[in-house]
Every structure is written in structure tokens, then in C-alpha cells.
């Protein structure tokens, strides 16, 4: 969610407690889902009513006739003369009114709006105090993330030390189970494997211990402190220790929990299968490999296999308590792998990025760890590692919400994304192709990565749609896991497919999916190709890691294609499943009839894309002359070249105050978007009129508070021109994503552009501006999901 989301310290929770709370959270998520569905429905209704009230100004001007703004009906002289709605000051007929209980009435749109504010609970949210401005994330969300992360601050470890032993046991079993689950579902990534040894060299046992306890026992933390005490000479800061510990072990929870972090968890599972002996061996070797590092301790390798015996007494005291029981430390190791990799050239970043939603912060903590690893070198000695770690974790991390590191990691990720990430990514994909586990939300990974392409090249996006009839059906089992945030599409089989290559009487089908509207590679998944059958059994799971809220804005499109080795792949049928109304509770297989390719016409029904708040002010030329450029006007970057007078604009000035937007579509994995607004005037003669706001990052409710200034506009121009504002999600290496837009203008019919598209509120606000020269008028306008005039190819920012 928002980057300002605070993280609670829930590390004191026992495992059962966490489980109970997670169950509650899950129930809550379900309720929320229903609620969101309901609200979306209502918002769409409003959108439709508004669209109806389209062309009132044109008609008003043309015919001088009174009509109802809502239904366009003509109004009478004596009966049904229409009345002006108090809210919007527009005249509506009797039918388009909704009467409140106190005999007060509003027009349909206004009443719908206020009803929406009630039913959505917005009335309440809006009035919250300023101090909560940055923490709009619902409590559930905070708790969920915190609990998943199980993070930070060992500050308040209260009285549950007594339980630690049992806890550890439970944790262990828990880890074990989960680890198995992972290894079952996990994938092997070569790059990761290669790194394993290094990882191990870092003193896994300590880590494992740590993970175990910080899975919550106070006691264990205390014991760490003890360890540190012993090591104090080596610059230890004991109090911080607990924090680091818990921070680290988060990972394991996280990875256990979410297949988002697959790359990570899989590596955990790989290791978990190894015996401890093997582990210690590999550890030893890596340690020696590391001996070149400056601060390497002498006891290194010996100390590591805590299960056998460790030279450092203090360490033993810790490990003996826990490591026996723990047996498997997968999760822990898993987590460690991240910083390691990060520090080793950031190969693993790609796999981190997708999980960003869950854990930017914790990645950040990893990074801090890795940094420290680099700076101090790695002592194979566990205890030492602890101390180093504790020392190097930035104070921001320890104290509270890990805010700053989060940003840092972002930068870090960005800076490394482009280069190394690809390599890693390609490897992952290769190793992983069958599973089709890739990450929906890694924006950069998409950008022409050779690896992905290579695979997709076999089956070009453009199928051959020519003459093939479409027959048959596809059997699917679609489920969503709240726990891992993954949409799993089990493609079971297809039946009665059409024959693709009639000459050879051959069909080599495979299934490809997109989560529309995203048609990029990030959103593409494929099954294997089954050869020579029209009744292929796939039994493959296509997986998307995506938050549930985002999911509701998506449509799952599955197409069946014939894989032609030489020619173009032919299209065998497709099915589109809107996910906003999908019943994920239905656990059964469903057969869907395949359908012919639908023209990708813009959706007929408007889609709710959020709303934007805009202020408009037109300062007519006469006023401009008296105060040519008032400072408060904002920047005037566009000067329409007319009669060569560049110094003093001769026309009026149009200020467009782009204030904020709400409920934008989230395009990033973190359920946010980095957004900006583009504005320009149509018709296109005014090419240079294009203006942009700065990018506001990581929110779906951005506040730009930016003013576009358009000068040299005569009052008459206002009847002709049309202002187009479009909201974009910024993507650093691929095309920006269109998030919605509005047209503002009077739609008076003179403009070749504005003619029919400007409707409802868009017109109203413009007209209001014209009617109130010199004053600014503000309005909230629903974003369109499609722009008529818009080139479908988004432009680069």
C-alpha cells in the first residue's frame, strides 16, 4: 500500500496466536472483497447516469429549449417545468429527482453521489483528521503486513519467555511443513543454487536459531543478548540485536507464506532437504573460501555446525537450545539468501521486486544486512555475524517503521534492475518455464528481456485467425490464495479443439493467458505445447501474483493456440473471464466454451477508473492586460504562437489546476502506481501545448497540486477547444500505462475533436468556468477508461 504504512511490532505473538489472527484477517479480507464489489457496482451505476446527461450545453445553446439535464427530456411551460437541483444548479425534470425523507430533493446524479458517499463509507473517511493523512491504510492491512513480516523491535519483549521452548518446537514443525510445501511447489533457479554455498558460509545456524526464536520467544532473544554480551569486545550493540533478529526471520515467514517470494523460498526448501551434516560441510567449505575477507574470524568453520559442537560457548548456549529442535532452518536460510544475493551484485533483485508488495521494508532490512556483510567481511562464526549484523542495521530499521530503508531499496532495485536483473531473470525463467512462475508486477523485467522473449518467440502473440472455426471447450480450475496473494489457474484440459493444420491433420495446442487489461509480457503465461491432439490434457497451473483488490479490475483471457513450428501459430479459440465477479469459493472445475476472437473494441460498458479533481480558471484578455502575469498563476510554459507576440500574451489565460485523483488503478505489485498527468489542448494544431505534472509515487490517490497554464486563448476559443487530461502510470523501462482520462470542453459541436465525447460533468465544469471568468471552479470528474482520440500506443514519459 502506501509507503507510509507503519509496521507494528508483532514479534511477540505466539505462533498459534498468529494463526488465529491470520484467520480473522482472512475472513475480513473476504468481507472486504464483497464490499468492494458492491461499491464498484454502485460506482459504475453512477457513471452511467452521468454519461446519460450528455449534451445539455450544446442543446441549450442551439435550441434555446429547456430540457432536463439528466434525461434530456424537454421540459414543459406549466407542468413539469423542471426545477433546479440545489446541489448542482442544474434543471431537471420531475422524473430525475430523488426525494429525501425531509422532502428535500436532489437530481439523480447528486443523489447518487451522496448515496455513494454513504454506502462507501467515504463520508467517514473524508472527515478524518489531518494527522492520519499518511496512514490511510486500514488497520487490517497494517496488521496483516506486520504479522506476515513478524518484524522488528525487540524492544518490548514481555513476559512470554516461559513458552519459548514449546514455541520453538511448534515453529519448527511449522517451518518444516511449509518448507515441504515449498519444495513441492518450488522451482529451481540455477542462479540461486549457485549461490547457496556462499549463503551457508554465513553462519546459518545462528540464523536458524534466530528465526526460530524470533518466531517469538522472548527467551531466545534474551539468549542472544547473552551471546552478544560475550562478544561485546567485537563492537556489539546488544540492544539492537533482537531487532535484527526478528527482522531477518521475517523473511522466513514471508517466504513461507507467499509464493511471491518463490525464488527465495525455493532455495530454502532445497536446503531444508539437506541433512544437517551436509550443511555443515558446505558451510565449512564456503567459509574457507571466504577467508580472504578481512575480518574473518579464526574459529570460522568449526563454529558453524552448531548441532555438533561449537567452539564458542555462548553460541552453543543458544544453539543447543534451539537448533536441535529446529532441524530445519529453511526459512531462515531463505531469508538470508536475499541479502547475500543483493550484496553479491544484485542478481536476485528480480525475485525480490515482485514481492515488494509484501515486503519492501523487509527487503530493505536485508539490504542493510548485506551491506554490513560487505563492509565487515563475513566471519564464519555465527555469533560474530550476529553482532555485525546488529551493528550495521541502520537505526531507522531498529527503532520503528523502517521507512527510509524502504526508499533506499527501491532506488537500489531500480538502479540495478536494468542490467543484472535481466540475467537473473532469464535464468529463472529458463529453469522455470514449465511452471510459468513469473512476476506480474516486475515492470522492468518485461522490457525486452531476451530470456522471456526467447520463449515467447516460439509462439508469437499474433495468432493466425484466418479461417479456423472455433470449437470445443477448456476445463479450468481457478482459485485465489489470499495467503500467498496468488491467482492460480489450473488449466486441466481442452476438449474437441478444431484441427489447426488440416493438411497434416495436426494440432499442437497450448494455452496462453493474459490478465487483461495488461497485455504486456509480464501478464503472459503459457502452458506447454501438447503435440498432435485435439483433446489435450494440460494439468498445468498458470500463476499470477497479484493482490486481490487489483484482481477485481482484471479480466482473465485464455486463448488456445496451435503451435506451428514453421508458420504462424493459429488461433483455436479463447475465453474471457472477468474476475471482479468471479466466485473463488467455487472450488470445482469449470468448462468454458471456446469462443472466436473478439474484436478488441473498447469496452462498451464504462469501467470505473477512479476520479480526478480539477480546478479550472479562465482569465479573459481584458483582465490579463491589467495584470499581465500574476505570480500566482502558475507556470506558463505554453505560449501559443500567434502574431509573433511572445512577450505579453494577448489572449486570455487558462489555468488548469490538477489537484488530485482517487482510486486509480494500481499497476505495481505494491498495489500502488507512480502517476502523472498529461494535459494538452485539442485540436492538435496546438501541438506544443502538451504539459505534464511531476510523477507522484507509490499511491493510487496521488496529489499533484500542479497547474498547467495555457495562454493566448480568446473567449471564443473556449467554445472550440477541448482540454484532454490523461493519467498515466509511470514505468521506467516500458511504456507508461494509461490509467484513465477526461475531456474538458463545451462540446458545442464546432470542434472536430470534442464533438460527442464530452459529456456530463466534463461539460458542466467547463461551462462553469466560462460562466465565471476570473474565478476558479473545481470539480471531481470520473476518469474514462478509454479515450476516443487516443492513440492506443502510450507514449514514453
Amino acid at each position: 500500500m502506501s509507503r507510509n504504512m507503519e509496521i507494528l511490532n508483532l514479534s511477540y505473538l505466539l505462533d498459534q496466536e498468529r494463526q488465529i489472527i491470520l484467520d480473522v484477517l482472512q475472513r475480513d479480507a473476504h468481507i472486504k472483497k464483497i464490499e468492494e464489489k458492491r461499491i464498484r457496482k454502485l460506482k459504475n451505476e453512477l457513471l452511467e447516469i452521468r454519461k446519460k446527461g450528455g449534451n445539455r450545453y450544446r442543446i441549450r445553446q442551439d435550441n434555446k429549449k429547456k430540457i432536463c439535464v439528466r434525461c434530456q427530456k424537454n421540459l414543459g411551460v406549466i407542468f413539469d417545468r423542471g426545477q433546479v437541483c440545489d446541489c448542482c444548479q442544474l434543471r431537471v425534470c420531475n422524473a430525475c429527482r430523488v426525494v429525501d425523507k425531509d422532502r428535500v430533493w436532489k437530481c439523480t446524479v447528486c443523489s447518487k453521489i451522496s448515496e455513494l458517499r454513504k454506502v462507501t463509507g467515504e463520508w467517514f473517511v473524508e472527515e478524518r483528521t489531518k494527522r492520519f493523512k499518511n496512514t490511510t491504510s486500514p488497520g487490517t492491512e497494517v496488521v496483516r503486513k506486520s504479522i506476515m513480516r513478524k518484524s522488528v523491535t525487540a524492544k518490548r519483549f514481555e513476559e512470554e519467555g516461559e513458552n519459548s521452548k514449546t514455541d520453538t518446537k511448534e515453529n519448527t514443525t511449522n517451518n518444516g511443513t511449509l518448507a515441504n510445501a515449498q519444495s513441492a511447489g518450488g522451482t529451481d533457479t540455477r542462479s540461486l543454487k549457485r549461490k547457496n554455498p556462499k549463503l551457508l558460509g554465513k553462519g546459518d545456524d545462528t540464523r536458524s536459531i534466530r528465526s526460530n526464536f524470533d518466531t517469538q520467544s522472548l527467551r531466545s532473544n534474551r539468549s542472544t543478548f547473552r551471546v552478544n554480551g560475550v562478544l561485546d569486545k567485537k563492537i556489539v550493540k546488544p540492544p539492537i540485536n533482537g531487532d535484527n533478529i526478528s527482522t531477518r526471520s521475517d523473511h522466513d515467514t514471508r517466504s513461507l507464506r507467499s509464493i511471491k517470494s518463490v525464488a527465495r523460498s525455493e532455495r530454502g526448501s532445497v536446503q531444508s532437504l539437506e541433512t544437517s551434516g551436509a550443511r555443515s560441510k558446505s558451510r565449512g567449505s564456503t567459509n574457507s573460501a571466504r577467508s580472504s575477507l578481512p575480518s574473518k574470524g579464526s574459529k570460522t568453520s568449526g563454529s558453524v555446525p552448531a548441532i555438533q559442537s561449537s567452539p564458542t560457548p555462548s553460541k552453543r548456549s543458544v544453539s543447543s537450545h534451539y537448533s536441535h529442535k529446529s532441524g530445519l532452518e529453511n526459512g531462515t536460510r531463505t531469508s538470508t539468501s536475499i541479502p547475500e544475493n543483493l550484496s553479491m551484485g544484485h542478481r536476485r533483485i528480480p525475485s525480490n521486486t515482485p514481492s515488494a508488495a509484501v515486503s519492501l521494508v523487509s527487503v530493505a532490512s536485508d539490504r542493510s544486512k548485506s551491506e554490513m556483510d560487505l563492509s565487515h567481511g563475513i566471519n564464519g562464526e555465527n555469533a560474530e555475524t550476529i553482532s555485525i549484523r546488529s551493528k550495521s542495521v541502520p537505526s531507522g530499521l531498529n527503532g520503528m517503521e523502517n521507512l527510509e530503508p524502504e526508499e533506499d531499496i527501491d532506488d537500489l532495485v531500480n538502479s540495478h534492475n536494468s542490467s543484472q536483473m535481466r540475467n537473473a531473470f532469464s535464468e529463472t525463467v529458463e529453469a522455470d518455464t514449465d511452471r510459468n512462475l513469473s512476476y506480474l508486477n516486475v515492470p522492468d523485467a518485461d522490457a525486452d528481456t531476451a530470456s522471456i522473449c526467447s520463449r515467447s518467440s516460439a509462439n508469437s502473440d499474433v495468432g493466425d485467425y484466418r479461417n479456423l472455426e472455433v470449437t470445443g471447450e477448456i476445463v479450468l480450475n481457478i482459485s485465489y490464495s489470499y495467503r500467498t496473494g496468488a491467482l492460480n489457474i489450473l488449466v486441466k484440459a481442452c476438449r474437441n479443439l478444431a484441427v489447426a493444420d488440416e493438411k497434416k491433420n495436426r494440432t499442437d495446442p497450448y494455452v496462453k493467458s493474459y490478465l487483461l487489461p495488461d497485455k504486456s509480457r509480464q501478464s503472459k503465461r503459457k502452458t506447454k505445447v501438447k503435440t498432435n491432439t485435439t483433446n489435450p490434457d494440460f494439468n498445468e497451473t498458470l500463476k499470477y501474483v497479484i493482490s486481490h483488490t487489483q484482481l477485481q479490475t482484471r479480466t482473465l483471457q485464455l486463448s488456445v493456440l496451435h503451435n506451428d513450428r514453421f508458420g504462424r501459430n493459429s488461433f483455436l479459440g479463447e475465453v474471457s473471464i472477468p474476475l471482479d465477479s468471479f466466485d473463488f469459493e467455487n472450488k470445482e472445475d469449470n468448462a468454458y466454451n471456446l469462443e472466436p476472437k473478439v474484436d478488441s473494441a473498447p469496452e462498451s460498458t464504462p469501467q470505473y477508473k477512479g476520479e480526478i479533481t480539477i480546478g479550472l480558471r479562465y482569465t479573459p484578455p481584458e483582465k490579463c492586460l491589467t495584470l499581465p502575469l500574476e505570480p500566482g498563476t502558475g507556470r506558463l510554459s505554453f505560449i501559443r504562437p500567434r502574431k509573433g507576440s511572445m512577450q505579453i500574451p494577448t489572449g486570455g489565460i487558462l489555468d488548469v489546476f490538477v489537484k488530485e485523483a482517487r482510486n486509480l488503478t494500481a499497476v505495481k505489485s505494491s498495489s500502488t502506481s507512480d502517476t502523472f498527468v498529461k494535459g494538452h489542448l485539442l485540436p492538435e494544431i496546438l501541438k506544443s501545448s502538451k504539459q505534464k505534472t511531476p510523477v507522484v509515487k507509490k499511491t493510487v490517490n496521488p496529489q499533484w497540486n500542479h497547474t498547467f497554464g495555457f495562454t493566448n486563448l480568446q473567449p471564443t476559443d473556449l467554445q472550440i477547444i477541448c482540454l484532454e487530461l490523461t493519467v498515466w502510470g509511470k514505468e521506467s523501462l516500458s511504456s507508461n500505462v494509461f490509467l484513465g482520462g477526461v475531456y474538458l470542453g463545451c462540446g458545442s459541436g464546432n470542434s472536430e475533436n470534442g464533438e460527442d465525447m464530452i459529456q456530463g460533468e466534463e461539460q458542466l465544469l467547463w461551462q462553469k468556468m466560462i460562466d465565471n471568468p476570473g474565478t476558479s471552479v473545481e470539480g471531481i470528474i470520473m476518469l474514462r477508461s478509454t479515450m476516443t482520440k487516443h492513440k492506443s500506443n502510450p507514449t514514453k514519459a
Binding site: 496466536e17 434555446k64 433546479v84 446524479v109 454513504k118 463520508w123 483528521t129 471552479v777 471531481i780
Partner: protein, 224 residues
């Protein structure tokens, strides 16, 4: 293990009330107060009409959903039951924001729980949004013999804090429903108030000249 959980949640989802979309408003209500004052019992009485004298400490947070019909509207209540224990405080306070109504509960047989009301009220002020509504409830009013907090003191404190006040008993089902309904009513009042004060459609603009009224009188050829 995983399996069991899945099926457990499934059955829960099957419940009609939680998946019912047929309502007008959704209110979130939070019950807070010291440990063992009867928050969970109160909720169970209201939502399930059940009561069990055994004390089971709530873990962190829980909720129940109940849809009621009030003021001609179907209102879905998501009632959050919080753990009174201090150790869960970080979790419970996270739920204060977004809660439209609070039931602040004490136990009339427990002086300490009454003394803590002031603190709880401070917590609300600190963590909740400003227009959240609060009711003060003295629970266990069936246990008249063991009463240590008089109704009068309860009422005075409520007045002092600006909350409405009820004495109730989850065990004997006294004033439970009334408490929730009153809270819903107060929230509804607040809601219409806040909607009246803010003009939803187009804000920030001075009401311009009334566009349609400036026009020439309508033509004769109208529909009627």
C-alpha cells in the same frame, strides 16, 4: 494441516451473512475495554444470541457480522471484538482508525475497569478518526450484588466524556440490542450531518449563476 484450514475457512465463507451483498451501508464498530469486562460475551449475545459463562480470552482481534434493518436501511455491521489485554494493544489500536463507532465497556463489578475508561477514551481520541462515535457501556448489570460502580458514576463519567451511556448485561440480555441500535442511529445521524455540510457534487466553486435559469423561456412545443 493446510488442508484442514482451508476447509475450515470454506465453511465459514459459506455462511450467509458474511457473503451477503444485500445491504445499504456498512458500519465498522469496535468494542473496547479492559480484559474480562465482557466484550466478547456482549458481541456473542448480540450477533448469535448466545451466552457462555466461561471466560476465553480473545486473541488479538476478532469480528462478527450482523446485518440489521434500521431507519429503512439494511445496515451491515462488522463488529470488531478486541482483546483487552495489554499485550495485544498494538494490534487492537490499529483497528481504531476506520471504526465509525466504539463501544467502550467496563464491568460494573470491577472498579479498575471503570477507572480505565478514561484511558480508553484517550486511546480513542489518539487513534480513531475524529467523527467516530462512542457509547459507554457498563456491563454485567445483572450482578447487582457485586456492583461496585453505581449507575450514577457511570452516567457522570459518560457525560463528562461526552458519550452516551448504557448499563447492560450480556448474560441476561439486557440493553444489548439497544446499545448497538443506538450506536447505529448515532452513526447515521452523523452521516447525514456530514453529508449536509459538504456539497458532494462540485465543491470549491462558488455557486455560479444558475445556468438554466438565464435561458429564454421554453418553447411551446414541449412534450407535455
Amino acid at each position: 494441516m493446510k488442508h484442514n484450514m482451508a476447509s475450515a475457512t470454506d465453511s465459514r465463507y459459506g455462511q450467509k451473512e458474511s457473503s451477503d451483498q444485500n445491504f445499504d451501508y456498512m458500519f465498522k464498530i469496535l468494542i473496547i475495554g479492559n480484559s474480562s469486562v465482557g466484550k466478547t460475551s456482549f458481541l456473542f449475545r448480540y450477533a448469535d444470541d448466545s451466552f457462555t459463562p466461561a471466560f476465553v480470552s480473545t486473541v488479538g482481534i476478532d469480528f462478527k457480522v450482523k446485518t440489521i434493518y434500521r431507519n429503512d436501511k439494511r445496515i451491515k455491521l462488522q463488529i470488531w471484538d478486541t482483546a483487552g489485554q495489554e499485550r495485544y494493544r498494538t494490534i487492537t489500536t490499529a483497528y481504531y482508525r476506520g471504526a465509525m463507532g466504539f463501544i467502550l465497556m467496563y464491568d460494573i463489578t470491577n472498579e479498575e475497569s471503570f477507572n480505565a475508561v478514561q484511558d480508553w477514551s484517550t486511546q480513542i481520541k489518539t487513534y480513531s478518526w475524529d467523527n467516530a462515535q462512542v457509547l459507554l457501556v457498563g456491563n454485567k448489570c445483572d450482578m447487582e450484588d457485586e456492583r461496585v460502580v453505581s449507575s450514577e458514576r457511570g452516567r457522570q463519567l459518560a457525560d463528562h466524556l461526552g458519550f452516551e451511556f448504557f448499563e447492560a448485561s450480556a448474560k441476561d440480555n439486557i440493553n444489548v440490542k439497544q446499545t448497538f441500535e443506538r450506536l447505529v442511529d448515532i452513526i447515521c445521524e452523523k452521516m447525514s450531518e456530514s453529508l449536509d455540510t459538504a456539497d458532494p457534487a462540485v465543491t470549491g466553486a462558488k455557486p455560479g449563476p444558475q445556468l438554466t435559469d438565464q435561458q429564454a423561456p421554453p418553447h411551446q412545443d414541449c412534450a407535455c
